[in-house]
């Protein structure tokens, strides 16, 4: 500020100078405010959407590569899970930080009342709305965040990150008692990590690889501690990501009961535990390769079948035709179930010997069956689809089949629409019919 020339003016200038200082302070504050709002606008309007797009695209990439993960997992007979490992102290410290911040938050709140004009808050908050439910990341889910509504939330998280990264940063925010406590807690944590407890490691993460990553220390602390021997994948700020390889056999022992019916399970469970359990596990897990990959294929194949020239319009009607369709449904299911296991046994570990009765039933069917399709359908869909898929190729190839189909079509046409309507559910029957004919031919 320039000094005025005269002494009389100097008095004025003091107040003036003060005034100017005040003004400059105000201007600076305005500029700061403007800059913050601008930064906020940039983050919300340009960066976030781009990041969301990036997330979508990376999701698409994952969709594309998911098959290969399951492929490799299956080839190695393991399940790979990625999970995050959090320091345990985060929980306790969070709460206390939370309290502090909540107190601070009140003061913030009183101040913030003045600034109503700020960038439209409603507009800003909406974009996050959808994100939050989607991303269950550890930060927002943590109890600390849930408690605080307005301001305290943000600082709590940032502090969280700092804490997790290392003890010293954490000390800034908490009392010395707190730091001591964290240290005390830290040491037992390490001790825990040293003796692995065999029971849980599989349980915690096996079935849900994706979810296991997201939930923070709140749910998995103990498990994470135990699994420290796993391969380190990434270390990002506060979190350590590790890979856990779970052999499939473990899972098999756990799951077999629920899915295997007693009838066939009696033979299969004893003699071919591996195959049986695998089927069970595969239903639960996306990661199980055999199921996941074929299950994707199945839907593609169906439309082709329906559109296939030979079936045409009569395809839907053929099923209910002669007595053949009636025989099949019950027997067919058994056979289909049998086929599942036999198919698996032969392919997976050669354990098919277990179910001989079933095999005898399905012997003929196995010859027809295409392994891949059978597997794919196994996890998801009812036996119907399997049969649909399999016979088609044969039917197309052999003229006898077409002839039989035409006969069936004629029969259906003559029979009229009534039958078709009742039997709407039995679309599978046509395939069965075809098969039976096919079998007759072959034998």
């Amino acid at each position: 500020m320039a000094r005025p020339h005269s002494a009389a003016a100097r008095n004025l200038t003091l107040t003036e100078e003060l005034e100017k200082l005040e003004q400059s302070i105000t201007l600076t504050l305005q500029e700061i405010d403007h800059n913050f709002s601008k930064a906020h606008r940039i983050v919300t309007s340009s960066i976030l959407p781009i990041v969301e797009q990036y997330g979508e695209h990376s999701k698409a990439v994952w969709e594309g590569s998911k098959f290969w993960k399951t492929f490799f997992e299956q080839s190695a007979n393991i399940t790979l899970n990625t999970y995050s490992e959090d320091p345990v102290e985060a929980d306790t410290t969070n709460d206390e930080l939370e309290q502090k911040l909540a107190q601070e938050g009140e003061s913030y709140g009183s101040l913030s009342l003045h600034g109503d004009e700020t960038v439209s808050s409603s507009r800003i908050e909406h974009p996050y709305g959808p994100d939050n439910p989607e991303t269950d990341s550890s930060l927002l889910d943590s109890p600390s965040v849930a408690g605080a509504q307005s301001t305290p939330r943000a600082p709590s998280n940032t502090k969280l990150m700092d804490q997790d990264a290392g003890a010293p940063t954490f000390a800034e925010y908490s009392s010395p008692y707190e730091s001591l406590r964290s240290q005390v807690e830290h040491s037992p944590e390490i001790n825990h990590s040293k003796h692995p407890q065999p029971i849980t490691p599989g349980k915690n993460r096996v079935a849900f690889p994706d979810t296991s990553m997201t939930p923070p220390s709140a749910y998995l602390p103990s498990a994470q501690r135990r699994a420290n021997q796993d391969t380190l994948l990434h270390r990002v700020l506060d979190k350590t990501y590790r890979i856990q390889a779970t052999p499939h056999t473990q899972r098999k022992s756990r799951h077999p009961a629920p899915h295997q019916p007693a009838a066939r399970g009696g033979g299969g469970a004893t003699e071919t535990p591996v195959t049986a359990t695998r089927t069970a596990a595969s239903r639960f897990l996306d990661s199980s390769p055999l199921d996941s990959s074929p299950s994707e294929e199945a839907p593609q194949l169906r439309p082709e079948i329906f559109s296939s020239p030979m079936k045409g319009r009569a395809a839907a009607r053929t099923p209910r035709t002669p007595g053949v369709s009636v025989q099949t449904p019950a027997a067919k299911r058994d056979i289909a179930s049998a086929r599942r296991q036999t198919g698996f046994g032969a392919r997976g570990e050669g354990g098919g010997g277990g179910e001989r009765t079933i095999q005898t039933l399905s012997r003929a069917w196995d010859s027809d069956s295409d392994d891949e399709f059978g597997d794919g359908l196994e996890g998801m869909s009812p036996p119907k689809t399997m049969q649909f898929v399999v016979p088609q190729g044969r039917l197309l190839q052999t003229p006898a089949r077409e002839a039989s189909k035409r006969i069936v079509e004629d029969l259906l046409l003559t029979a009229g629409g009534d039958i078709t309507d009742e039997m709407a559910a039995e679309e599978d029957s046509p395939s069965v019919v075809k098969r039976n004919q096919e079998l007759d031919d072959s034998f």
Partner: protein, 72 residues
């Protein structure tokens, strides 16, 4: 007696705090989404590593068996 400047500055400070809150929330959301994306990409990375290992294994095998041929 409160000077007008003081009042104005307190208002401005309130605004700034408000903006910082919002910015903080925005950055948190950004971090969160990035974190999720990173976690998701870890699986892709895993697949890439497995493929890489597979490729090196195949290469080793082919070289060991002298069956490696130049791409035609």
């Amino acid at each position: 007696m409160e000077s007008p400047h003081e009042h104005q500055q307190s208002l401005l400070l309130g605004r700034i705090i408000n903006n910082v809150e919002k910015l903080n929330e925005a950055v948190m959301a950004l971090n969160k989404s990035l974190q999720d994306i990173n976690v998701q990409n870890m699986n892709v990375e895993l697949v890439a590593q497995m493929f890489k290992n597979y490729q090196s294994n195949v290469l080793f095998h082919l070289e060991a068996t002298d069956s490696l041929k130049e791409p035609s």
